[in-house]
C-alpha cells in the first residue's frame, strides 16, 4: 500500500515537462524590415529574425491597398536576391508557405553572409510593382554556439545522472546504517 504525504516536490517534474513543451513552440517574432508604397500596393517586408544569417531564412511580404489598407491576397510575389559575389537566388513567395495567411512567404536558404541586393516583383493582373532593398546577412556564430542546446544535453544528463547515483548510494547507506 502506498500512502502519499507531503508531495509538493512532485510539482517540479511537471513544471519541467511543461517548460520543455512551451520552449519548443515556434513564436511569432516577425520583424518589419521595411515598408514602402509602390503604386498600386503598399509593400511590407518581414523577416523571421534579425539579423539574418546564412542558412534557412523566412522572408514574408504583406501587400496592402494604399487606400483603406485592406490586404491583397491574390497577387504573385517574386523575390530576386543577388549577392555581391554574383550568386543569384530566384524564388516565389506564396501564401501557402506562410503560417499567417495574410502574408506571402518564401522559405529560402541564404548560402553566404554579406550584402544581398533584393528585388521584390509583385504582379496582380495588369498591376505591377517593384521594390528594392539591401539585405545584410551577418556571419554565422560558431557551430558550437549555434547548437548549444543539443551540445549541452549530454553534460546536463550526466550531471543529473551522477546526482541521482550519489542520492541512491546515500539512501542505501542510510538504510544499512
Amino acid at each position: 500500500m502506498i500512502r502519499v504525504r507531503k508531495t509538493s516536490h512532485l510539482f517540479l517534474p511537471i513544471l519541467i515537462g511543461l517548460f520543455v513543451l512551451v520552449r519548443i513552440a515556434r513564436a511569432d517574432g516577425g520583424v518589419v524590415m521595411c515598408q514602402r508604397t509602390s503604386a498600386p500596393f503598399t509593400i511590407t517586408l518581414f523577416s523571421s529574425e534579425m539579423p539574418l544569417r546564412p542558412g534557412p531564412a523566412d522572408l514574408s511580404v504583406l501587400l496592402e491597398h494604399p487606400v483603406g489598407h485592406s490586404p491583397v491576397l491574390d497577387a504573385q510575389v517574386f523575390i530576386n536576391l543577388e549577392h555581391e559575389s554574383g550568386t543569384i537566388i530566384r524564388t516565389e513567395a506564396t501564401r501557402s508557405q506562410a503560417r499567417n495567411k495574410l502574408l506571402y512567404c518564401s522559405l529560402l536558404t541564404l548560402p553566404k553572409a554579406g550584402h544581398w541586393k533584393m528585388m521584390l516583383h509583385v504582379v496582380r493582373g495588369n498591376e505591377k510593382a517593384d521594390m528594392r532593398y539591401d539585405l545584410v546577412v551577418t556571419e554565422l556564430p560558431p557551430v558550437l554556439l549555434s547548437n548549444w542546446t543539443l551540445i549541452s544535453l549530454p553534460p546536463l544528463v550526466i550531471i543529473l545522472f551522477l546526482f541521482n547515483q550519489s542520492l541512491r548510494r546515500k539512501a542505501s547507506t542510510g538504510e544499512r546504517a
Binding site: 509538493s8 512532485l10 520543455v20 513543451l21 520552449r23 511569432d28 495567411k101 549530454p154 544528463v157 548510494r169
Partner: protein, 767 residues
C-alpha cells in the same frame, strides 16, 4: 466569410515539434491515470482526465492557432493568448492532479531508479517546498506579469522568437505556481488556510486591475512595434492597447473573483463535508494489480499473421536475390559512371541507409531477407556439406580480418565509384557463401565468415525487437527442444542459439525457424526500448552472457565502433584535403600508400593505443586485478550505441540527401533493356540535393543519445564490481572519456563539408 477573414482563421501552424511532446505528455498522464484509477477509483475521476487534456488543448490553442500568428500584429490578440496561458490552461491542468498520474505513467524502473532518488532528496524537497509556498507563488506570478509588460521586455519578446518563447515559459510556469495553492491538487497539502487564499486572490486581482487600468488609460502607445506594424483592423494602435487592457481587466478579474466565491462557499460549508473531503484526501491507494509485459509482435492481429506466414522469408529473400542479380548485371555491362549505375546507387546509398534504419526501428532485417541464402542452399545441394567448421576457427577472427580489408579497400579502390568492382564483390560474396556452406555443416558462413552478418549482429544489440521466449517455465518442461534441434517439418536454429538462454540479438539472423519449430508456440518477437538488450545483458543476474566474455567479440565491437567514425570521417573535405597534402608533401605518385598508412593508423594502431590506455588507467585508478583481455571484454559492449549512432547518421544522411537518385538510374536501366514504361531518365534528380534544414540537429540528437546510452552502460558495467561511488567513477572514467572523445569526433564530422561520392553532386555541408 470574406477572403481576409478566411485567411486569418486558416493561419494555423500544426507544428509537430509541439504536437508530439504534447501528445506524449497526454499519453503519459492517461497511462498513469488509468493505473491509479484501478487502484483508487474514488480519487481519479473522468472529469480530472478531461480537465488535464483540456488544459493541454488550451496551450495548443494559444500557441498554434491564429492567436499566435497575429499576436505580433494586435495587442488584443496577444492579450487573449497570454490569458489562455496564465488563467485558463494552468487551473485546468492542476485540476487534473497531474503529479501522480504523470509519475505513474513513467516506466516503473525509470520511476523507481531514475526519478525516485530525486523525489526522496531532502535538498530538493526543501527547494520545492520553498518554491511552492504561497508567498513565493504569488510573488513570482506578479513579478513575471509586471516585468514582461514593461516596454523594453515586451519589445524584446516581439522582436525575437527565442525571447518570445522565454516569455511564454515564464507566464505558464509562474501561473502554474500561482494556481497551485488555489486548486490544491491531490496529493498536495494546504500550506495556509483557505481564508488566506481569498486574500491571495484579491491581492492578485488588485495587481491585475492596476496594470490593465494603466494600459486602458495611458495616452500613448506603450509598445512601438504595434504602432509600426501594418494595421489589419480598423482599430488604431492606441485603441488596440485600450481594448487589450479592458480584456485583461474584465477577464482577469473574473478569473480571480470566481475562485474567491467558490472558496468562500467551501469555507462556509459544514464541517462534516470538510471532514469527509479530508478523509478522502488521506486515504491510501491500493497495490499494483498487474505487472506490465513486453509487447509481443506475433500476437498483434495482422502483423502476427504476416510474420507467421511460412513463405514470408523466402519471398523477401527472392526479392533481394533478384535485386542482387540486377545489380551484378548492371555493374558488369551497364555504364561505368557511378551515379548512373544500379551497382553503386543500390548498395552504397540505399541498401546501407535502409539497413541501419531497419536496425533502429525493428532489428536484423538484412539477415532475415539475406540474398546470399540461395547460394548457401545451392552449395549444400551440389557440394557434400558434411564437415564441421574447424574448432580453431570457431570465432569472429576471420570476419574481423575481412571487415578490416573491406574498410581499407572501400577507400583504396573507391568501391563507391566503381560499378564493376562492386558487382565482382557481390559475385565473390555469393561464391564464398556457396563454398563455405557447401563444405561445412550448419550456418558456418553466417556465424564465422560473413562480415555483413557480424555487422548486423553487433548493431542489432541496440534494436528494439528480439526473438525470445514468452514463458520460461514452458521451456523448463519441454523435452524435445525443437527450437534448436528442429523436427520433421521445420529445422531448428542453424546458429545453435538455445532460446531459454538467449539474452540478446547476437548471432540471431531473425530467420524465425525457432518460432515455426516450437510445438508450444512459446517463441515470439518481443519488443522493448532500443538499447534495452545491452543494459539487460550487462546487469543480468545469470552468469555473464557467453558472447560478451569472448575477446574476439570485444575486438569485433571495437573495430565496428572505430570504423563508424573513420568511415564517415573519410568522406569529409578537410580529411581528404589533408590526405592529398600528405601525398604532395612526400612526393608520392599515388594516394594508395597514404590511404594504407592512414587506415592502418586510424583503424588499428590508434584504437589499440587508446584501448590499451583505457585498460591501464582503469586498472590503476579502479584498483582492479583482472587481466587486460578481461577488462576489454567487460567494457567493449558499452561502445555499441555510440558507434551505431554514427553509422545511423552517416548512412541515413546519404539515403535522405540522395535517395531520389535511384529513379533516373532505374529509368536508364529499364530503357537499356527496352522497357520504356518508366520514361526517359531524368538526370536532374540525380544531381539535385534534397535539403533538410532539420537534419544536422537530428543527427546531433542521435549522437547525443548514442553517447548517453554508452555512458549509462559503461557505468552499469563499472557498478557491477560493487565499489564505492568514487572508485566506480575512477574505474569507469577512462572508458567514458573515450566515448566522449568519439562523440566529439562525431560532432566535428557532422559539421564538415561532405563529399557526395558516387553521386552527381559533389560537395555538400551537413550543416
Amino acid at each position: 466569410m470574406n477572403s481576409i477573414t478566411d485567411a486569418v482563421f486558416s493561419s494555423w501552424d500544426l507544428n509537430p515539434r509541439l504536437l508530439i511532446p504534447t501528445l506524449a505528455i497526454a499519453l503519459l498522464y492517461a497511462r498513469g491515470w488509468w493505473q491509479l484509477r484501478r487502484r483508487a477509483p474514488h480519487r481519479f475521476s473522468t472529469s480530472q482526465l478531461m480537465a488535464f487534456v483540456a488544459g493541454l488543448i488550451t496551450i495548443l490553442l494559444a500557441l498554434l492557432s491564429p492567436l499566435d500568428a497575429f499576436a505580433g500584429w494586435l495587442l488584443t490578440v496577444h492579450m487573449i493568448q497570454h490569458l489562455l496561458l496564465m488563467m485558463v490552461a494552468p487551473p485546468l491542468i492542476l485540476y487534473g492532479a497531474p503529479y501522480m498520474p504523470i509519475l505513474f505513467g513513467l516506466p516503473n524502473k525509470f520511476l523507481k531508479d531514475g526519478v525516485g532518488p530525486f523525489l526522496a532528496s531532502k535538498l530538493l524537497r526543501k527547494i520545492a517546498r520553498f518554491v511552492s509556498h504561497p508567498i513565493f507563488c504569488w510573488s513570482a506570478f506578479v513579478f513575471t506579469t509586471i516585468a514582461w509588460h514593461t516596454p523594453p521586455m515586451y519589445e524584446l519578446a516581439l522582436h525575437s522568437p527565442t525571447w518570445h518563447q522565454v516569455e511564454h515559459v515564464c507566464f505558464l510556469t509562474t501561473a502554474l505556481l500561482f494556481w497551485l495553492p488555489v486548486i490544491q491538487p491531490w496529493p498536495s497539502v494546504a500550506r495556509t488556510s483557505r481564508l488566506t487564499i481569498i486574500l491571495y486572490l484579491f491581492l492578485a486581482d488588485f495587481q491585475n486591475t492596476a496594470l490593465s487600468a494603466f494600459l486602458v488609460f495611458y495616452e500613448r502607445v506603450l509598445y512601438p512595434t504595434y504602432q509600426n506594424i501594418p494595421r489589419i483592423s480598423d482599430m488604431t494602435a492606441l485603441e488596440d492597447q485600450a481594448a487589450a487592457g479592458s480584456i485583461m481587466w474584465v477577464a482577469g478579474s473574473l478569473f480571480f473573483l470566481v475562485p474567491v466565491g467558490l472558496i468562500t462557499i467551501e469555507v462556509l460549508s459544514s464541517r462534516r463535508t470538510v471532514r469527509r473531503s479530508i478523509r478522502r484526501r488521506i486515504s491510501p491507494i491500493g497495490p499494483i494489480r498487474s505487472k506490465p509485459t513486453r509487447l509481443d509482435l506475433l500476437s498483434i492481429p495482422l502483423v502476427g499473421r504476416l510474420l507467421r506466414w511460412p513463405h514470408l522469408r523466402r519471398s523477401a529473400q527472392l526479392l533481394t536475390f533478384l535485386l542482387a542479380l540486377v545489380l551484378i548485371i548492371d555493374g558488369l555491362v551497364g555504364p561505368q559512371m557511378a551515379p548512373m549505375n544500379l551497382a553503386v546507387v543500390l548498395p552504397w546509398t540505399h541498401s546501407r541507409g535502409l539497413m541501419v534504419i531497419a536496425l533502429l526501428a525493428v532489428g536484423n532485417i538484412f539477415c532475415f531477407a539475406c540474398p546470399f541464402n540461395f547460394a548457401r542452399e545451392l552449395g549444400r545441394r551440389i557440394l557434400p556439406a558434411r564437415w564441421s567448421w574447424p574448432r580453431r576457427l570457431r570465432s569472429k577472427w576471420i570476419a574481423i580480418a575481412l571487415l578490416l580489408i573491406f574498410f581499407w579497400a572501400y577507400e583504396a579502390f573507391s568501391l563507391w565509384d566503381s560499378p564493376s568492382t562492386t558487382a565482382l564483390l557481390v559475385i565473390g560474396y555469393f561464391a564464398s557463401a556457396m563454398i563455405v556452406d557447401g563444405l561445412f555443416k550448419g550456418a558456418s558462413f553466417c556465424k564465422y565468415v560473413c562480415p555483413i552478418g557480424q555487422y548486423q549482429f553487433i548493431q542489432s544489440l541496440v534494436s528494439p525487437v528480439e526473438v525470445g521466449v514468452r514463458n520460461l517455465s514452458v521451456c523448463g518442461t519441454c523435452q524435445t527442444h525443437d527450437c534448436i534441434r528442429g523436427n520433421n517439418e521445420r529445422r531448428g536454429c542453424e546458429l545453435q542459439l538455445f532460446l531459454p538462454r538467449k539474452e540478446s540479438n547476437m548471432d540471431c539472423t531473425f530467420c524465425l525457424d525457432c518460432v515455426h519449430a516450437c510445438p508450444h508456440d512459446n517463441v515470439s518477437l518481443l519488443a522493448s526500448l532500443p538499447g534495452t538488450q545491452l543494459v539487460k545483458i550487462q546487469t543480468s543476474r545469470k552468469r555473464r552472457n557467453k558472447f560478451f566474455r569472448r575477446f574476439d567479440v570485444a575486438v569485433l565491437i571495437l573495430l565496428l565502433v572505430f570504423a563508424a567514425f573513420i568511415n564517415a570521417g573519410g568522406m569529409v573535405l578537410p580529411v581528404q584535403t589533408w590526405e592529398h597534402s600528405v601525398q604532395a608533401k612526400f612526393g608520392i605518385g599515388s594516394i594508395q600508400p597514404v590511404l594504407a598508412v592512414v587506415y592502418l593508423l586510424s583503424i588499428v594502431i590508434i584504437p589499440v593505443l587508446l584501448v590499451a590506455g583505457c585498460v591501464w588507467f582503469s586498472r590503476v585508478f579502479g584498483r582492479r586485478r583482472e587481466n587486460w583481455k578481461e577488462t576489454i571484454t567487460t567494457f567493449a559492449p558499452a561502445f555499441v550505441p555510440v558507434g551505431f549512432s554514427m553509422w545511423l547518421i552517416h548512412f541515413s544522411y546519404h539515403l535522405l540527401n540522395s535517395g531520389q537518385a535511384v529513379v533516373p538510374v532505374i529509368q536508364r536501366a529499364a530503357t537499356d533493356v527496352g522497357i520504356t514504361i518508366f520514361g526517359k531518365p531524368d538526370w536532374m534528380l540525380a544531381s539535385m540535393m534534397a535539403s533538410f534544414d532539420w537534419l544536422p540537429s537530428l543527427e546531433l540528437l542521435v549522437l547525443d543519445l548514442g553517447l548517453l546510452l554508452s555512458l549509462f552502460i559503461s557505468w552499469r558495467i563499472a557498478s557491477r564490481f560493487r565499489l564505492n561511488f568514487v572508485q566506480t567513477l575512477r574505474l569507469n572514467a577512462p572508458w567514458s572519456l573515450l566515448a566522449v572523445a568519439l562523440y566529439a569526433l562525431g560532432v566535428w564530422i557532422i559539421f564538415q563539408p561532405m563529399q557526395m561520392r558516387g553521386m552527381m553532386m559533389m560537395t555538400h555541408s551537413m550543416h
